[in-house]
Symmetry: C2
Amino acid sequence: MNALVREPRSQSIEDYLKVTYQIQEQSQWVTTSALAERLGHAPSSITNMVQKLQKLGYLDYTPYYGFRLTDKGKRLALGMLRHHRLLELFLVKVLGYTWDRVHEEAERLEHVVSGEFVERIDRLLGHPRLDPHGDPIPTEEGRLQETTHPRLLECFAGESVMVRRVSDASGEFLRYAAELGLVPDARIEVVECAPFEGPIRIRVQGKDHYIGRDAARRIFVERKNAKSSKPKRPLP
Amino acid sequence: MNALVREPRSQSIEDYLKVTYQIQEQSQWVTTSALAERLGHAPSSITNMVQKLQKLGYLDYTPYYGFRLTDKGKRLALGMLRHHRLLELFLVKVLGYTWDRVHEEAERLEHVVSGEFVERIDRLLGHPRLDPHGDPIPTEEGRLQETTHPRLLECFAGESVMVRRVSDASGEFLRYAAELGLVPDARIEVVECAPFEGPIRIRVQGKDHYIGRDAARRIFVERKNAKSSKPKRPLP
DNA sequence: ACAAAAACTTAGTCGTTCCTAACTATAGGT
DNA sequence: ACCTATAGTTAGGAACGACTAAGTTTTTGT
Ligand SMILES: [Mn+2]
Ligand SMILES: [Mn+2]
Ligand SMILES: [Mn+2]
Ligand SMILES: [Mn+2]
């Protein structure tokens, strides 16, 4: 009996598991269409691959319902996130990339760099905890510092907050955010929030900007010691 | 008529063209079996792919005879060599790899790094001309400084030579060579050559070693008539 | 010169990963 | 409750790049 069946681990499999992990961080069950959307594939392709990944023990799958990673699947997904985020930081800090250009490069590199490569850039970077967008980097053992910062959208007028994370889903948005100085560790004052789903007025480095709600949804912040204790209009 | 047919350029295609280039540097016509040997594939796989590459205009092929790269094929092959060799040097100089471990990593990375990545490491490394094994790095425009150094095997007793290039085909050999100090820019005195295909006695950094003919075939040297000043190279 | 060996090509197949089209199950609205 | 819109699955197929087995061409040895 040959128990040593070769375990395939293609680039496709790695991306499926990585993105599944990212989706299930928010919604308990991952759906076919959610993964199809994020990977840019037809839903039927997802069904096929998910069935294969279940056979390989990477996830638990209930037809017509959804799926979730097993521990084995999570371990692999966290490995990919570690590769991806360390690579992004490496590209910024060592090669001088801007933070809006690193995602595509890391998306390809993450699948081919060896463990040795990753550990070497980890050491070179001084064992960093966050990537250029403020996303936490899993440890080599697969531990991830969970972050649950509120969105800038959820803040009240008068609050003084600090940028902790910026969604890296769109390079265009990252360029816009950088222009406004909305980068991790930047201090923001929420000056006012227009009613009726209106824009938000913020002050960054002494300059005022009006940003839309979509933008404010992509910025995650940490509340500082509030200097105004009078919450005004909450933003739902 | 849509003349803008997408030009496929898979990892496989890139490796076929790169290795074809390396083979045709020495033998005018590249044969199916030579490429099969180097790529570790069955000969029939080579025939298939070569026919495809001819249709794509990357090489000229005469059945049962052999093939050669077209200018288009050469351009692509030189690009891959540039990627590969710059990556190898980068791994040694920036990430601290030893010169016997870089080939496998570069073999995978060469296909996924962007042009921007390559130009950034090129700048970081100061536009180097040689990789860690002494192989020349093609320029961005695809120009390659041809090197035709004689092999150590071809030297006579009494000659004083300088190592210029060490075959990177085997990691094991590279470890052995480094142990003996046989790295680019090392000075060697050929003390004696045993007759009847015997070993060669060399002196490196004051120490004598007997090396076999297979080893001496893998070392390329420059004959030193006088003291010439060449750019220095770091030890891997 | 000719038969055997070696080199090469052709034919047919397989695994991987994607697709479209057709089918099926679940969820909402009335 | 039922009927339909939506989400999900199955079926069938294409492109790619490898393989083995079988056939063809070229080279080699006597
Ligand atoms: Mn990826
Ligand atoms: Mn990121
Ligand atoms: Mn390669
Ligand atoms: Mn090399």
